[in-house]
Symmetry: C2
Subunit: 458 residues, 2 copies
């Protein structure tokens, strides 16, 4: 028969079993942490009505979107279909649709695949996981939520085993207020985009662009550079900002918010070294209105932010006439996974075996005994594989070691007669013949030790 | 601003938070059970190259498939895209692609969404979850695997809380062998399709169709009806089948396999009442070659099979020149969920609250104390929500009770000064003022009790 070459599309993640186990562990850690903070899981369709998805409309998104069509459904009312490109628009749709049935503040997490038709490029994915948390208020939302969100990110990253990361925090009201006092409100978007290039092109080039392309006076450009150069401990930055107080209500409110967020972040247990007030953070999207976040791996600044978000005033304005302020953050999970893999940060000690023990009947005569032993092991919560293939002994051992299964249990005629098992520790190469329950205890000791290796990242 | 009506496409599952928690619990139970049997999780893209996906080609599938296109990627080598319609084809692709890097027998589970452009109809979904387990051999695969697979389904359904279900088992070799001895090999596919209607149209109508549409003689039709009417305990059915032995090698081998599967299923701990040898089970797909399964809810036979599968000889023949026999089973999870919901079988006792405790500062002055308390609760593994909105006391209580959160912790000035918490049991309406650690113990007692309610189904 003529064969079709099996292949996976470029830009689509597909892992071998061992790395997939690592990815699963990351997702489990995220689910557990988000649940600990009282977030409820959501699951929305991957396909939506294109009109709903593109309510906001506009440029690059529309080009990147995947359209979906189907022979059977041509002319059907549901024939204008597209795939979601983020989890925020589906959340907005969900809250607007179910407005009266939800309880506010509504806290949800969602871990799901999103789709973007990006041109092939290293580090760009066409299908990738996002992991989002958002808190949505009905009309109002207290400032404490803007500190809680980054504290969750701190917990999540710490549980994954990451240590050298920093959550950088700013407030859009501070920026907007500052540009207001400078008389630069009109060009504030282009100024912020320019300032955002500071890390890449340096202060001199930023100054040049501000003057030449953003219609900023030489003097104002200097003031902008002075402002975004404010650095130091969080307390020092906040003190420096006090000098600008009293000239713009927006600025004053932003400073008050940033001061609260900084204070609360400490109370949430986030160490000073893991968060920094950073006036260069702006986030491009104009729908952020308060606190904004970016998270960088300190040893890999070149990667940019691995987790970003902020406060917005109006989640679902395209669908519903209710003010729904919220705050949220998104981890690009697929990208984060590949970054950790690339940087050799994934913990090789983390067990990726699909089972703790391989139960091996020595011949077909012990099949029933082996099944009964495996059934007892599973009933006690031990992940067990049964190996019933008629292969040479060596092949059976190789099977277990290839998969990294730590124990094998050999069951021959004498073991069956004496109702015992030959338990081999494949790491140490030691074998003992013991009653099943004793073997179970040995394996449980191993599991307890393996559980200690919680960190996915070294 | 003109609004766009937020809506979710028909045939696409989207749940409110409480039922979503039930769905999550079902998926968690599946993941845990499959892991206990040594299956490794896989995750493959939802979009594949259409040519790869449609390698088998043909009819209804091609009409139901969703094609995907994108503005940016027109003319790109990856521009002929389609969405997966099951998890078997992606598995075949995966195994063929990674043939040399996998260890056999390869045991994987996959829980994922699949897409079919079905015309709108009650009980038909366009996006739905399948939960598949398969064991793939390299060249050979022992018969014990054909008993292990339904034993996993028994465990899974039992853990979900289902009791009155039956896994019905047959063997295609028995059917093929029987039709061979009847001289009906040529029309065996159409005969099997007709016999499959027995439950719906009754024996007389089946007999009529066999004679009139399948070119079966009157006498052979009687023999077919006699054969498929064989009923009784599993031992009785197997004994009755022995009468047909010695006339077809295929039949004899099938009977041997079915006898082994029946014997092993008992050893795997599956009670006789939960599985039945049933000669009417054939499964339409012609790629099944040995044991076949269907699972019915005994109180709802009208629903048909909720979990089906079987043994096949050649998983990936379209992609690779290696014989890859396997056995697998698939649960249509979205459908199962709606069936359980429709039949009011979902356990209303199962907690669906997003947290065990709501921490409520009585005024903004206790915000920091509340954050510190919530942080300590979370550090001890208690799912905690922090309620910092400035609302009336009644609104705060309503928030907790709407979400079904069992405890609230009120923190006023005096509680902060004395470093205690006012813990209210919202179910009983009782309130005590105690040190935090005492409150933690009370909540842990509740959690331990709630954990007992494992069953999702009543």
């Amino acid at each position: 028969m003529a064969k079709i070459k099996p292949r996976t599309l470029s830009g689509f993640m597909e892992l071998l079993p061992a790395p997939q186990q690592q990815m699963e562990r990351i997702m489990e850690t995220l689910r557990e942490t988000y649940s600990l903070y009282g977030f409820t899981p959501l699951d929305t369709p991957i396909i939506e009505d294109a009109q709903v998805l593109l309510a906001k409309g506009g440029g690059e998104t529309e080009k990147q979107i995947y359209s979906v069509s189907n022979f059977n459904l041509k002319g059907d009312k549901d024939s204008n279909l597209a795939m979601r490109f983020d989890l925020t628009v589906p959340l907005a749709k969900y809250v607007a649709m179910n407005y009266g049935q939800l309880t506010y503040p509504f806290r949800r997490y969602q871990i799901g695949k999103v789709y973007r038709g990006e041109r092939a490029q290293r580090g760009r994915y066409r299908e990738f996981y996002q992991a989002d948390i958002d808190i949505i208020g009905d009309g109002k939302l207290d400032i404490a939520n803007e500190a809680e969100i980054p504290s969750i990110i701190y917990q999540t990253f710490s549980k994954l085993g990451l240590k050298r990361f920093q959550i950088r925090v700013n407030n859009r009201k501070i920026l907007n207020g500052f540009y207001e006092m400078m008389g630069l409100s009109e060009q504030s978007q282009s100024v912020m985009r320019t300032v955002d290039k500071l890390d890449k092109i340096g202060p001199a080039a930023v100054r040049k662009l501000l003057v030449e392309e953003c219609a900023v006076s030489e003097q104002a450009a200097d003031e902008v550079l002075t402002f975004i150069s404010i650095q130091g401990t969080n307390a020092e930055v906040l003190t420096a900002l006090e000098a600008y107080q009293g000239k713009s209500q927006t600025f004053d409110r932003g400073l008050e918010e940033l001061t609260s967020v900084t204070k609360y972040l400490s109370v949430f247990g986030v160490p000073e070294e893991n968060f920094a007030v950073d006036l260069t953070i702006a986030r491009g999207l104009d729908y952020y209105t308060g606190t904004v976040y970016e998270t960088t791996l300190l040893d890999h600044p070149e990667i940019g932010s691995v987790c970003s978000g902020g406060r917005y005033d109006n989640l679902a304005g395209y669908y519903i006439d209710k003010p729904l302020p919220g705050v949220g953050i998104s981890i690009g999970l697929t990208r984060l996974f590949y970054v950790l893999e690339d940087q050799k940060m994934l913990n090789p000690q983390m067990p990726t075996a699909p089972a703790e023990v391989l139960v091996v009947p020595m011949s077909a005569d012990q099949q029933a005994y082996a099944i009964s032993v495996a059934t007892q092991l599973r009933a006690q919560g031990i992940r067990t594989q049964l190996y019933t293939e008629q292969k040479k002994f060596k092949a059976k051992i190789q099977y277990a070691s290839k998969l990294g299964i730590p124990y094998a249990m050999f069951l021959g005629e004498s073991e069956e007669q004496e109702n015992v098992v030959a338990l081999k520790d494949l790491t140490k190469g030691q074998q003992v013949t013991v009653p099943l329950q004793e073997a179970v205890e040995t394996i449980w000791e191993y599991i307890a030790q393996a559980e200690e290796i919680k960190a996915i990242v070294e």
